[in-house]
């Protein structure tokens, strides 16, 4: 009888209710990767974030889609996907924030990790943990990846406005990023997916770590685009 009761109890647990993740979008070997990014580090801390467990998780998921400007993939980018944020310390001082996301590429998963300045929220470096792409070699090139150093989520939000209203504006830092020189037409979708991954990563970090710091830029970009559209009409 006892096993039957236990079975029913576990079956009840398995019913529809809030679900929780055990494994995030993690670095396979965080110590190794973080040490490479921050040679001076002494310790690191992992923080798991799961949208279903956050009070405003549903709003964040909806907001992510709006800020990304594209639909989320039902297999690669689900509501239940957990995220792991790594905080890197030198002694008691936080010297970095590292976070990864998955985006669908042409050949499979593209796993985009960013390391950011903990105070200014600027990209320090970006790298791929998994890049299932025929254009992997080109996209992994140091020269291509170095172009993102110093960019913030604010720059991506500004880019939305400049690309739509003032193409070629000098203030548009994201438009200045150039694809790898040897990238052929077949690799273009994975280049676009990588940019999308960087933006998605920055949006989630803004929600999880930086207290929605760049929301005013998102709002202003949207308002300015609406104004420009109204003027045209």
């Amino acid at each position: 009888m006892k096993p039957v009761i236990a079975f029913l109890a576990l079956a009840a647990l398995a019913g529809p209710q809030a679900v929780y993740g055990a494994i995030g979008c993690t670095l396979t070997n965080p110590a190794e990767d973080l040490k490479y990014l921050y040679p001076e580090m002494t310790t690191f801390k992992e923080e798991l974030s799961e949208l279903p467990r956050l009070q405003d998780g549903a709003a964040i998921f909806k907001g992510l889609k709006a800020r990304l400007g594209s639909d989320l993939d039902p297999i690669y980018e689900t509501y239940e996907t957990p995220y792991t944020v790594y905080s890197v310390f030198k002694g008691p001082t936080k010297i970095g924030v590292v976070h990864g996301v998955n985006v669908p590429g042409k050949g499979g998963v593209i796993q985009v990790f960013l390391s950011l300045d903990p105070v200014r929220a600027e990209i320090k470096s970006f790298f791929f943990q998994r890049l299932e792409s025929p254009a992997a070699r080109q996209l992994r090139s140091k020269e291509f990846r170095a172009q993102f150093t110093g960019l913030t989520l604010g720059d991506f939000y500004k880019h939305d406005y400049y690309a739509a209203v003032e193409p070629g504006a000098k203030a548009d830092k994201v438009a200045a990023v150039k694809p790898p020189p040897l990238l052929d037409a077949g690799g273009r979708p994975d280049y676009e997916a990588s940019l999308r991954g960087i933006r998605k990563n920055l949006i989630l970090l803004d929600f999880f770590v930086y207290g929605k710091r760049f929301e005013p830029y998102f709002d202003r970009a949207r308002q300015s685009m609406e104004k420009a559209k109204a003027r045209k009409e």
């Binding site: 079975f7 070997n29 110590a31 001076e40 943990q129």
Partner: protein, 386 residues
């Protein structure tokens, strides 16, 4: 009004029009629309009780449902139904994650038995059974309390300690989640169990290599001593950078000592093994090649194990195909060998295995058997993990 005066007024009005109307519009488009925008202030988090913190910060809980039906070529059917869960908790100080705990368990109902790859112990567990799978703790960077900041920096990730019940640290199983899959790696057949009770150290040796060094009880599912001395195991594996940059994983494993046989008798066991896995992107998806080779002795008998696997996963991650060849040979006992084909449809297939949902069809053709005639086993599996 003289013509000159009319012209002057017209010019004045035109200039006024430019200033108030036309010209400012041109000026507006050049104006920085983000002037004066300031970054938002970070809100202060609301205070939480220790209980709220414990069950929300780095606490994961997942549920699992597995329904499996199989039959052999004689039409002998078997069923394995289970519900289970996994709990994962990480413990942190203000500046570091210091430990983690993982527990996986299932309540299983079995009726009938066929030797399906993911349930070799099912023969002895008919009816109801409560099973634990992973049950272990990791302690990270355990020397940190006695190291200076400079020494901590030099040794990040080098000295981690593990104790509990987990995958045998031999071959690729340590870095492969086979909890829900039908296809398995070779440890179960090689040692009689794929998980064991053990304790020891793991971490990074340098930028290129990782290590695992453990003492194992050698008793498999139950922690028990029936005269065996236990096993020592050492694995040296490629660092993560090879997987990230080139798609390669691999290592060399050594294991020696005494374990318990199925009949609970100590067996002197020696093994050395090599393994590798290579992921290669192809235009429509991903190919994964997996190989495990090992040789050694069980008491005086020479044993040799080989496993070769090829998987294809479509870029949508919605469906995949796999085939595996496996063989375990022992002096005087001939060999167990099989070739397996598998097709899978995924409803959910998270990259990090954090939420999974699939239906698999697995067909195993046994080519050689140590005991009894070779047969064909067909398995249909439904799996949900979220």
């Amino acid at each position: 009004m003289p013509a000159f005066a009319r012209l002057s007024i017209a010019l004045l009005l035109f200039a006024l029009f430019l200033m108030v109307g036309g010209f400012p519009i041109a000026a507006q488009t050049r104006e920085d629309p983000f002037a004066g925008v300031a970054e938002a202030e970070k809100p202060q988090p609301a205070p939480r009780s220790w209980r709220e913190q414990f069950f929300s910060d780095n606490f994961g809980f997942r549920k699992e449902i597995m329904s499996q039906f199989d039959t052999n070529e004689d039409g002998r059917g078997a069923s394995r139904q289970s519900v289970g869960f996994e709990v994962l908790k990480k413990f942190s100080t203000a500046t570091s994650t210091v430990a983690s705990f993982d527990f996986q368990a299932r309540l299983v109902r079995r009726d009938g038995f066929n030797p399906v790859l993911n349930d070799m112990e099912g023969a002895s567990r008919q009816g109801w059974a409560f099973e634990y799978h992973n049950l272990y703790m990791d302690f990270y960077n355990i020397l940190n309390p006695v190291l200076s900041n400079e020494e901590r920096s030099k040794n990040v990730g080098r000295f981690n300690f593990r104790a509990g019940h987990f995958y045998v640290p031999f071959g690729l199983n340590l870095q492969t989640d086979t909890h829900g899959t039908v296809l398995q790696l070779s440890n179960d057949r090689n040692f009689g169990f794929e998980r064991d009770w053990y304790t020891g150290f793991w971490g990074t040796l340098n930028r290129y290599l990782n290590y695992d060094a453990y003492y194992l009880a050698g008793s498999g599912y139950d922690l028990k001593y029936k005269g065996q001395s236990g096993l020592g195991a050492l694995r040296i594996s490629l660092a993560n950078r090879y997987s990230s940059d080139y798609g390669w994983e691999g290592g060399v494993s050594l294991l020696g000592g005494e374990r318990l046989s199925e009949a609970a008798k100590p067996i002197a066991t020696r093994r050395i093994g090599m393994d590798g896995r290579y992921r290669r992107a192809v235009p429509t998806g991903l190919l994964i090649f997996t190989n495990e080779l090992s040789g050694g002795r069980d008491t005086a008998d020479t044993v040799f194990t080989q496993l070769h696997q090829l998987e294809y996963l479509h870029s949508s991650r919605r469906w995949g195909l796999a085939t595996q060849y496996r063989r375990f040979a022992q002096d005087g006992l001939r060999a167990d060998a099989s070739i397996i084909g598998e097709a899978c449809w995924y409803f959910r297939n998270d990259v990090g295995n954090s939420n999974l949902h699939w239906i698999k069809l697995n067909v195993e053709r046994q080519l050689q058997r140590m005991q009894g005639p070779p047969s064909t086993v067909v398995t249909l599996q439904y799996y949900f993990y979220r």
